[in-house]
């Protein structure tokens, strides 16, 4: 199970935070294929955010093929994410690199800056590119779907 933490001052849209935290949990193997995501009701009760925000995040995850909604049952993780689980050789190499960086006198901020620069270089922009997508959907469609999703989510809690 995953508990979402919403940071209101991060400047990141709330539904994007839920998408990111779910992916992070999948990446870290805290969520595995077959696991159930919390129902919209459970998330909003704990976070006091709007139910539609949760449903929007779950739809985004569904569109990316990471989760699937099963009618009346809830939303389930479909696949794992990332080729680098916590105990992979890549992690070991990064760990060794961090030790060397520290020994070379680099501060935390230096390392973070260096890491994000290299990250940018090899993985061109990615975050937020889908964020605008949903804005273009028809309102009526959204209304109908929200109602259906609510029924599904409600029944599953």
């Amino acid at each position: 199970m995953v508990a979402y933490r919403i940071d209101r001052h991060s400047g990141v849209a709330t539904y994007v935070q839920i998408v990111q935290q779910t992916k992070q949990a999948i990446r870290l193997n805290l969520l595995r294929p077959g696991d159930k995501l919390p129902t919209a009701r459970e998330v909003v009760e704990a976070t006091a955010i709007n139910p539609n925000t949760v449903l929007k995040a779950y739809r985004e995850l569904e569109r990316e093929g990471l989760v699937e909604a099963r009618r009346g049952l809830g939303t389930f993780v479909r696949r794992s994410l990332g080729a680098a689980p916590a105990d992979s050789p890549l992690r070991g190499e990064l760990d060794a690199w961090a030790v060397r960086a520290r020994a070379a006198g680099l501060e935390r901020e230096d390392v973070a800056a260096l890491f994000s620069a290299v990250l940018e270089q090899h993985f061109a922009h990615h975050a937020g590119e889908r964020a605008q997508h949903e804005q273009h959907e028809q309102h009526e469609q959204r209304d109908r779907r929200d109602q259906r999703d609510r029924r599904d989510q409600g029944g599953a809690s």
């Binding site: 919209a40 909003v44 006091a48 139910p51 109602q147 609510r150």
Partner: protein, 293 residues
Amino acid sequence: MTDTAMEAAELGKRFGRRGGWGLRHCTFRLPAGRVCAVVGPNGAGKSTLLALAAGLLAPTEGTLTVLGGEPASARARVAFVDQHKPLYPQLTVAETLRMGADLNPGRWDARTAERVVAGGDLDPGKRIRALSGGLRTRVALALALAKRPELLLLDEPMADLDPLARHELMGSLMAQAAEHGTTIVMSSHVVAELEDSCDHLLLVGGGRVRLAGEIDDLLAAHTRVSAPAGTSLAPHTVVTSRTTGRQLSAVLRPAGPLPGDWRAGAPTLEELVLSYLRNPEAPAPTELQETTA
């Protein structure tokens, strides 16, 4: 069940024959299943609007439809929590809940009532009169939620709650919306308090509806820009603009692409609301209201 929770056309309310208008020329539509923030300064007409929706006041002019009918006829399916949380002071908490159950036969959800009350560490034997403002709010919300209304009207519900109780009770409200598709309308003059919980906005100011619609759509229709002082903002619709030194900052509704040398960004809900309140003359986006409000 209708897909419209509330609809107003040229709604107006005047207090006394020669009194002032508390609300006038209000036209908006609130789809069912939304969580709507009614925002505006003190005395803007928020409480008047909610009392009209609850059927406690009658309109002086225009019409207001609630759940497809007259506000008074929808009363069994509507719950209203007034900002003063009127309860019977001589009853105990337990007696108050029993009264709620007796007054709402067939609808009453005793488990919800008990859960909301239990969250506050309330002694059921205590009299309402002996409760603090925050605990009284908790009892009032317990009554409203346990009624399982289709439309929940809350006037300044969070004003006297501590931050923990506020978060917990807002969570309970959102859970009810998620589970039952309840339409929630709540007023506040603190926008930040409602930002994450609401998906629909009704901005009331000077007795008029200044802005109405889905919050995402309203935010997407406006842009916050900075440009060199003296720049002409035409042909865009300016909500507010201010010049500080060499810089001009404005919130506007773009009429087309913006020049590349302006710095542009999306406003927050609070910025948007404040920009309309700062400029009482700012025109309401009519095309938006027609399609989404």
